[in-house]
């Protein structure tokens, strides 16, 4: 029996289906791996060993009884701590929700449970998903398995690191401005931000409602397709949920893996390369383009002139919505409650004391920004203008998708930076999401997959964007590129990541 933690989810699922291994064995293998590497990586905030093993045992019993089970039944999964889980603490990486145990499940968690995937635990994240490095977690940062001195990306660094460090074959992330794709890029994993509305937001602690989107964090494109089909689909509890069924992604991934992209027009976004991009990242990007060309794709250059303003618009819309979404964290009904150290205990003073103590600096910074951007007299200048830019970016996409079936770029301008390097410079930190943000503003789907190691020996990411509701294109092109790259590398990129537990067999 090979090491169960090294298998892709699809491969593990096949071994479970043929009853070569049990879900209890697979779940235990991941719990053992966590015991070995968590002290160094700190990908998890909460490990749910007992309930994961109970789910695994239940699935094993049902399989033994001949029940017809979901394709991923028994495959363990990790869930970002922004997703509400009944009976399991959910903190959103914040002190303000310390100890809160939700009384209900997010829709996507209901689907995961119904399909019989053991939930290993809740993964670390930047507080309220605000950040690009997971250094803003109130519970300590996560380390990049490729170099423990470096950031794992953010805000979903915990999910990406868990998948990269073989602590989970699958993980759930959320992507508001790149929080699935950018961590995937810097950890050598696959991350997909589905079309806005493709996966229900019901039960996701909202950062910015019009931008948030949950999606898969995996080690292969096919695994992402399998997980996307599981968690996607219409949900009447989310008014912005699309009516589309979540189907066709796995078929597209399998079709793409044959390596034929004849007739596919791949648009290179002029504005998402060049200045500010690390040379090694650009070199891996160029090599990937050549592989796509070799597979029959037509490479065209497209221009999206308003992408220049995307970051500025994003950092008005996001804080504006966040300032309102985070208002409910006031010490009145759940989570932390701090009474003022002196003076009368009034509702206002309890709210102020709780928020003062419960929120971290980045959260406070964005609440203040957002409150300002929405305030009377400034609304039109800031929030209103940002919404206009958003419309222009949507038009840029529409025009670009006339010329190309998918758009591509490096996922992030650089590889993982060092922990602490940008912590005191929020604007430098924000720049890391420059290539991922336009997709959130327009609601289009995006994928990041590893394109190789940059000259510093760290993973670089390749981003693919498709028109809204055409997520299947991501899987087709992504699977093709993945197959071509792995052939040239002679195996998955993660195979070159350093061992963390002192020499366990690969």
């Amino acid at each position: 029996m090979s090491d169960l933690t090294r298998l892709s989810a699809a491969a593990l699922a096949e071994q479970l289906r043929t009853r070569e291994v049990t879900s209890v064995e697979a779940t235990q293998a991941h719990l053992d791996r966590m015991a070995a590497v968590e002290p160094a990586v700190h990908a998890y905030l909460h490990v749910a060993a007992d309930s994961a093993l109970a789910t695994a045992a239940d699935v094993d019993a049902r399989r033994a009884a001949g029940e017809d089970l979901h394709a991923l039944a028994g495959v363990p999964i990790a869930v970002k701590d922004v997703v509400v889980t009944r009976g399991v603490p959910t903190t959103v990486g914040s002190k303000i929700l310390e100890g809160w145990v939700p009384p209900y499940d997010a829709t996507l968690v209901e689907k995961i449970k119904a399909a019989g995937l053991p939930i290993l635990g809740k993964t670390n994240m930047d507080e309220f998903a605000m950040g690009s490095s997971t250094e803003h977690s109130a519970y300590g940062n996560t380390h990049n398995p490729w170099d423990l001195e470096r950031i794992p990306g953010g805000s979903g660094g915990g999910s990406a690191a868990a998948v990269a460090a073989y602590e989970a074959p699958l993980a759930i992330g959320t992507d508001t401005g790149g929080s699935i794709r950018q961590p995937a890029a810097v950890t050598g994993t696959v991350g997909v931000k589905p079309t806005y509305g493709s996966v229900s937001r019901y039960g996701l602690v909202a950062l910015a409602s019009s931008l948030d989107q949950a999606g898969p964090c995996t080690r292969t494109v096919l695994d992402a397709a399998l997980l996307h089909e599981l968690i996607g689909g219409h949900d009447p509890r989310d008014a912005t949920s699309l009516p589309d069924p979540a189907t066709g992604y796995v078929d597209a991934a399998r079709a793409g893996a044959t390596g034929d992209l004849t007739g596919v027009r791949v648009g290179v976004v002029r504005e998402l390369q060049g200045e500010g991009y690390q040379p090694g990242v650009l070199a891996r990007f160029e090599e990937s383009l050549e592989l796509l060309r070799g597979a029959g794709a037509e490479i065209v250059e497209v221009s999206c002139p308003h992408f220049t303003y995307a970051l500025a618009a994003y950092y008005l819309i996001l804080p504006a919505e966040a300032s309102s979404n985070l208002a409910k964290f006031d010490g009145m009904r759940f989570g932390l409650r701090v009474e003022p150290s002196e003076g009368p205990v009034t509702a206002e003073r309890v709210m102020a004391a709780t928020r003062g103590q419960g929120f971290g600096d980045e959260v406070k910074r964005r609440i203040i920004l957002g409150t300002y951007a929405l305030s009377a007299g400034y609304y039109d200048a800031y929030y209103g203008s940002a919404q206009k830019v958003r419309t222009l970016i949507q038009r840029d996409f529409a025009a670009a998708f006339e010329a190309a079936d998918v758009l591509v770029s490096p996922t992030a301008p650089t590889t993982a930076f060092r922990l602490g390097e940008k912590l005191d410079d929020p604007l430098a930190m924000y720049l890391n999401d420059v290539a991922t943000i336009p997709a959130n503003l327009a609601g289009v789907p995006g994928m990041s997959l590893p394109s190789g190691l940059s000259d510093d020996g760290l993973p670089a990411g390749f981003q693919i964007l498709a028109p809204a509701r055409e997520d299947a294109r991501l899987y087709r092109v992504g699977a093709a590129l993945e197959a071509l790259l792995e052939t040239s590398w002679d195996g998955p990129l993660l195979g070159r990541a350093p061992e963390l537990d002192g020499g366990a067999a690969r």
């Binding site: 209900y104 008014a239 309102s324």
Partner: protein, 501 residues
Amino acid sequence: MSTGVDLVDYDDAIARFDPVIGIEVHVELGTRTKMFDGAEQTFGEEPNTHVTPVSLGLPGALPAVNGTAVEYAIRIGLALNCQIAASCRFARKNYFYPDVPKNFQTSQYDEPIAHDGWVDVELEDGTVFRVEVERAHMEEDAGKNTHVGGSTGRIHGAEYSLVDYNRAGVPLVEIVTRPITGAGARAPEVARAYVQTLRDMFRALGVSEARMERGNVRADVNVSLRPTPESALGTRTETKNVNSFRSVERSVRYEISRQAAVLDAGGTVVQETRHWHEDTGSTTSGRVKSDAEDYRYFPEPDLVPIVPDPAWVEEIRATLPELPAARRRRLLAEWGFADAEMRDVVNAGAVELIEATVAAGATPAAARKWWMGELARTAKQQEVELADLPITPAQIGALQQLVDAGRINDKLARQVLEGVLAGEGDPEQVVVARGLEVVSDDGPLLEAIDAALAAQPDVADKIRSGNLGPVGAIIGAVMKATRGQADAGRVRELVLERVQA
């Protein structure tokens, strides 16, 4: 003046100032579930028993619009002669308060579902006054705070506060008038009649139980004064949450007198919200509006715009019930009441009751007699609405049929009514249980008559000699002996027969 506030005599104030009013009416819609989630609506149940993650504003919860609430809002908009928006949306009104679980209220702001309408209001003397409606929009209600430990029930001085979220998220429609001008001295009456007209309309439309005492319908009343009708609008005050028709009228009257006094003293009216005090009949200053909160409205990103299908709107329009004003005109003709009688009936809230009583077999005149007479007096004594008396139109119909059949007389009927109101059952049951049936058997009557004649021989002699005047004394004695259960007409016949015999 116990409140220590100077007031100008109302007539004096009206002689020198022109009042302008504006009214915001909130109505709670009677949908089965709340505005944005599946929690059932209730009234008077254990606190926090009808809540979901959505109405508690738990992290991760999302709103989904209640389609029935949208339909009800459109119904109200159409009944108010409004335009129904081709597309409208919700916004967030951000403010911190413990009864608002999300710390923002989801409400319609710049794009209401209905706008630009009007409603005709009939005053007590029959005058019709048109009130223009600026907009009707949808929003969600807040929870209910109870402040415990203070003397006033207000937050100041309270030791702690309890919050009940059963009401949080209940759908509301808010109807906002344009400034109502030209009412002059009748402004208080117009205000009351307008709120009453809306209340009747909500009930007719079937969109709300519209019970004022439960807070189903609440009015915020704006009042301002200006020197003449040609002058620019004056500074207004907004009296919040006025909870009865009478209070609406009184609060407008009070504010006119108070503002006139402020202006007379050379002061300026402060733009502020004010609280109405039913017990003292006065208002006191609430929050000063000049440093009003910045609500930071922005479009609710968790919801998509509502785009009512025009065919659906037309379908709703086609199925609107007959509205109270039209119905009143029809019933007036059918019932043959005098205008003044009809107005009294309307003002007493007895239209539906009389209609149902007529349907139960009574004549309109008889139905009116019961509801506007005995029952109106009882309701007034008990300080309840006529409709809330523990008696149904069907029971009144049955009672009247007993009278018409001669089984009871008017006097007995009042006793039967008393029994029904006391919860003794239907009229028939009360008659049997109390033994109230008219004695129609001549035997016992003759016995009583003979006894009465024997007891008053001089009266018997007078009658015998042709002086019929004292017959009443004999009848009275017989009625007394039969505890009122005798048919007085029959007794008279029998007395005359007996004396001549």
